[in-house]
Amino acid sequence: MFKKAYSLLCIAVLVVALALTGCSSSTKEGASSETGSKDKKVTITFMHLWTAGSSKQHNMIVNDIIKEFEKQNPNVTVKQEILENEQYKNKLKVLAASNELPDVGMTWAAGFLEPYVKGNLFAPLDDVLDSGLKDQFVSGTTEAYAVNNKTYALPLELNITPVYYNKEIFGKYHLDVPKTYEDFKNVVQTLVKNGVAPIALGNKDRWTGSMWYMYLADRIGGADTLKNAINGSGTFEDPSLIKAAEEIQNLVKMKAFIKGFNGLSNDEAKAEFTNEKAAMYLMGTWDLPQFTTNEDIPKEFRNKVGFFKFPVVEGGKGNIDSWVGGPGVGLFVSENSKAKEEAKKFVKFFIEKWGEQSVTKAGVIPATKVDTSNINLPQMYIDVLNELNKASNITLFADVQMNPEAAQTHLNLIQSLFGEGVTPKDFAKQHQEVLSKTQ
């Protein structure tokens, strides 16, 4: 009975296929023309990822800003749609494919944003920048959102990635904050000898391991080697980039990272650090609230956390004030928005208001300049902000710098490198292949 069904099925599928493609191509036009209403009531849709549950403070600020904006612009209503990170990215993709992006939404920098810009879906925001906003941004932060000298989104966050460490554990084994990579390896060795896991790393998420690799690449090859390899003006098979990969595997062999790190998520790894089972943790400054103000984490622990800058490698070209980090999410305006002017106005308003409140109320360091002199912040924030001012360079996260295809390959290779599933040479070679293929 089923034999017949299947032999005939293929034909049926083909017939239906032809019929349907015929239908769908003829009905493409004529959907979106009737909504250009004459009365001045305008609704802006705003899609973001700050849910009321997990990002309570962010969410409250967003609501306040919207309320204020609507008050000043009585003809405009802002309608929010909130999705969690993963779902947000998927939905943005589906909306983009159907040319139905929200008027205002969140995007990530460089590689993430590029396909959207090339598809003409994001509106250039240079006019917004030039209307007085430019000076308010920390210099260089908007560049990550620029394609061909036009800026397509404006950042809301700026992060760098220090190495957090547990002062008590360091004290117990008479360890000092390492200034050089040799010191750092000694710290690792001492901790391993004493049965303490040196570094919490959740490399299932892969971008976590990427930061370690980036720092070693920076300290050995200098700030530009990796950047050039990614943008095509250099090569990934540069000896310093291979050397950095070798160093990663040396660290793995020294058992520098917690047990089973390649199967752990960042959340699980962070828990090892906050539960004082691991001594160090390399992570973005977005986690600062966890080590300063978050009441869910015991105060005794929060008091034990300090941070240091990734140590320099002797003979390397990198400098200790060079950071891995960069702007996080930014706001875009849809090129096809029916309320583009209002949307741009809203973005400008949002950036300004957000910059005023985000550090104090939500613990988020904005991409706009923060005046530390007249606000009350935990000491660690002040230290980080000072470091930011001193920074000689901030290298944008590699997976953000690269286009999505290369980024996925990079992330997979990072996991293989840490899992000793690929040699440093092949690691570099495969990077070079995908980068030159997708350039």
């Binding site: 990822l49 549950g53 997990s54 969690e84 779902q87 828990a271 986690d287």
Partner: protein, 274 residues
């Protein structure tokens, strides 16, 4: 000897049951912990103090009430239509005589085989065209469409084993096809209909990919967005997620235990007749 074999079997069954029950216990404990405890305390330990505030947080901040209502009615409507339409189709395929039935059955079976994620973009533009984006009907229709194949498959095996004499005697009594279907076939297949109802209910209740993609207004979203509410950009509130999961599993658990008894009733009723 027989006794021993029987008790061994029994023992195995009970151990299995205990294993299957543990996830629920675990989820309850999980929902009473904060992030620190979730990662640091043993799986089956009750935190002290238990953090009931997770439930308060979920209910108040998560605005669960409305999502809950949406989940209930969307699931109910979807399940009813799926099971009914699938019963119609299975009846026509297995009991009636026509040439194309093998092809049509094949068409339904292929419906099992497409990965959900590759349907999103085409379906989104389809619903866009028919103006059903951000409309609950888009969810109900996809729920029905994507569960019809599996429902028909499960019904199939049961329908095929129904005795022909049943229909013959019905026809001799002067029954119409519709009457035969509603009065004889449907009651006979109650147990399997309940089975498919449960399966459909579980699938529809936990569905979130379509809801997230097709629905943007809060007023039509379902319970699964409650979980999302506690997944942050960089951190996740696991205790609150546990509480949401617990709240969302309870109704389905209750319905399931109630419906299962219906199966037994149906069977005993059938047995008396037979």
């Amino acid at each position: 000897m027989k006794q021993i074999g029987r008790s061994i079997f029994y023992g195995i069954l009970i151990i299995l049951a205990a294993l299957q029950l543990l996830p629920l216990v675990w989820l309850l404990f999980f929902s009473l912990k904060n992030n620190q405890e979730v990662f640091n305390t043993p799986l089956f330990s009750l935190p002290s103090p238990p953090r009931w505030e997770n439930y308060v947080k979920v209910w108040v901040e998560g605005d669960i009430g409305r999502y809950f209502f949406n989940s209930v009615w969307i699931t109910t409507v979807s399940v009813l239509f799926t099971v009914l339409l699938a019963s119609f189709a299975t009846f026509a395929i297995t009991r009636m005589n026509w040439k194309l039935k093998h092809i049509v059955l094949g068409l339904f079976m292929v419906g099992l085989m497409i990965p959900v994620h590759s349907t999103l973009i085409p379906l989104f533009s389809f619903f866009m065209k028919v103006k059903l984006i951000d409309h609950p009907l888009s969810i109900i229709l996809t729920n029905i469409g994507f569960n019809l194949p599996i429902t028909i498959m499960v019904l199939l095996g049961f329908y095929q084993s129904l005795p022909r004499e049943l229909e013959e005697s019905a026809v001799m009594d002067g029954c119409s096809v519709h009457r035969m279907f509603f009065r004889i076939i449907l009651p006979m297949t109650t147990p399997v209909m309940v089975t498919t109802t449960i399966i459909n209910m579980i699938y529809n209740w936990n569905e979130f990919v379509f809801v997230n993609t097709f629905i943007s207004s809060d007023e039509f979203k379902t319970l699964t967005v409650g979980i999302q509410n506690f997944i942050g950009q960089y951190t996740t509130d696991w205790g609150a997620i546990g509480a949401t999961l617990m709240i969302s599993v309870l109704p389905i658990l209750l319905v399931f235990f109630f419906l299962s008894d219906k199966i037994v009733e149906g069977i005993t009723a059938g047995a008396i007749k037979g």
